[in-house]
Structures are given as C-alpha cells and as structure tokens.
Symmetry: C2
Subunit: 65 residues, 2 copies
C-alpha cells in the first residue's frame, strides 16, 4: 500500500461523487496501485532492453502503449 | 496533479529500477492519474445507475472490469 487515500478520494469527488465509502477508496487505491506496478515493471523491462540503468520517460510511455 | 511523487518513485524502485529520472516519475504519475480518473468516472456512473449517491466498493469493481 503505497498511494495515500486523500488524493484518490479527491479524484472521486472531482468525478462527481457526492459520498464515497471507505471501501470504495480502498478499492480504487488497490486498482490504481496494480496499474502503477504493472507500468513500472514494463518500464523497467523497457530500460533493460535499451541497456540503461536509468528509467526514462520514454520507458514509461512505451509501457503504457 | 493529485498523486504525490514519492510513492510512485518507490513503486518504480520496487519494480527493480536502479535510477529513475524525474521525467519518468512525472510520466508515471500522469498515466496513473488518468487511470484513476477514468475508474472514478465509471464508478460514479455505476452508482448513479444503481440510484445511489454513495460510491461503494462494488462500483469501483464494476468500473475496473
């Protein structure tokens, strides 16, 4: 559990939520973290493929397409 | 820009990144926020569909499948 709850709840309110249950915030955090980890893994693979030890923006872009 | 940088950088390091450029963290934040907003929008739609004003866990689950 890396991402904080508050900004995720704010994103739900900005999407038009009047009330948000605690479980819903937790579910959103879980889904969003899974996506972040998947993208991070693919970005690391992309950087290795390019023989770099530094993850660059292009690695994340490649991972997300 | 809702999500903080530090946990996203941590996720990249946990994925095996030795070094992470600032641009890469920013790109990951942007991608992950887009996903969060999309899920939040769909969850709000799901709650309206169920005639509720409270977003529940099941709304997020429906949105993410």
């Amino acid at each position: 559990m890396e991402l904080p709850r508050a900004p995720l709840e704010r994103i739900m309110r900005n999407a038009g939520a009047e009330r948000v249950s605690g479980d819903a915030v937790e579910a959103l955090r879980s889904e969003v973290e899974d996506v972040a980890k998947e993208l991070a893994n693919e970005a690391v693979q992309a950087s290795k493929h390019a023989d770099r030890k530094t993850i660059k923006r292009d690695d994340v872009h490649l991972a997300s397409h």
